[in-house]
Amino acid sequence: MNSNNETQCYFVQLQIDNYLDGDLTATQQESFISHVQQCSECASEFRYAKTIQDGLVDMPLIDCADSVVESLLTTVQSQPQEQPDRQKAGSSGLADFWQWLLNAPLLVRYGVPAMAVAALAIGLLPSSPVAPEQAQPPLLANSPAILNATPVEYSPEEVVQALQDLNLAIQYLNQVSERTENMIGGRFLMAPLQENLNASFERIRERDANPLNNDPI
């Protein structure tokens, strides 16, 4: 009976702060109050906690003397101020852009980088065939041989022929690339895989041929 009371007292005293903060439910509050009204130890503990709580709540906010603020203001005006971190702000903007791009629809997600690459490529190419000297490096552009040379002009047939040659070259490069891939795959992937499989089959065949290997013991 005594230990039961002690347990009850223990739990009630644990609930004192919750009661003071108004965190108990109506039922818990009722049972708390009824226990405290019957148990003098818990009532005393509750009064002690309540007295401390009231003492804390009654403590006033204290203000510092005006002279402190006055001297602060004179001190502060000679103090330097730190500037906002521009680099950080820039990187945050870039991060925001990446976040937006990742959440954008598929067309936008791939379209925007593609357009950026295209814009970069256009920017890197000579902007106009009319003034090729602008694309020359400055040292070459200033050499007299270049300055006196006339711009080379190509006929439409020559341009078509050049494009055909270019296509042929690209086709050839594609074929070479394909063959290289096949060769690498065959040598480094297929051949070892085949060897491993053959070795496994060989082992199985040997085991089946020897009846002792099939002995369950």
């Binding site: 009204q37 709540v57 402190v68």
Partner: protein, 195 residues
């Protein structure tokens, strides 16, 4: 900008100074902390988020108080390596203040003896009436952590032997004048009504 800065000082100086004062119980130290906090505000004025200015100031004040307490402890350990500062303070209270019956003064002294974050959370919540959300932002803790520390801090405060002795003296328990059950019942009902 200076006008805005002055406005910020006017708005927050009481809270910052009170926090430092109740944490350190020394007017000059609290003034130094207040100045330090507002100088930092000036230095970081263009970098801080002004929508969370109150929490920022309290965080700086909290850090400054912790540094100050640490320095004080170092000085105390250099002067007396054998006595614990808590014991010294408790003895001083026993001799001087319990007899005077100044419960609030003893309570303030007991708050100062608490370790951080118990002390800071009790000051912020129970004395300054800050919301759990503001304390959470100031101390960079979750709300449940703040509540746990608050309850543990209050319990530690109640466990202070000097404060307990003073309360017992005040209520007559120490002199063997135990109240009757009817008196206790009446007290509880009265406390419930006051709440």
């Amino acid at each position: 900008m200076l006008a805005q800065y002055q406005q910020a000082i006017t708005q927050h100086r009481q809270r910052v100074f009170s926090f430092a004062h109740y944490s350190l119980r020394a007017k000059e130290d609290a003034e130094d902390i207040t100045q330090e906090v507002f100088i930092k505000l000036w230095q970081h004025w263009q970098k801080i988020d002004h929508s969370k200015l109150g929490a920022w100031l309290m965080r700086v004040a909290h850090n400054a108080v912790i540094d100050h307490v640490r320095k004080q402890k170092n000085v105390a350990s250099q002067t007396d390596d054998y006595a614990e500062p808590e014991e010294q303070a408790a003895e001083a209270l026993t001799e001087q203040q319990v007899d005077d019956g100044k419960f609030k003064e003893v309570l303030m002294a007991s708050i100062k003896l608490l370790d951080d974050p118990f002390r800071s959370i009790i000051i912020m919540r129970d004395i300054q009436g800050m919301s759990y959300g503001d304390i959470q932002h100031t101390l960079d803790m979750s709300e449940s952590q703040v509540k746990v520390y608050l309850h543990r801090g209050r319990r530690k405060l109640r466990e202070n032997p000097v404060l307990r002795k003073l309360f017992d003296t005040m209520t007559g328990r120490d002199a063997g004048q135990k109240k009757s059950s009817a008196q206790v019942k009446a007290d509880v009902v009265e406390l419930g009504k006051r709440k």
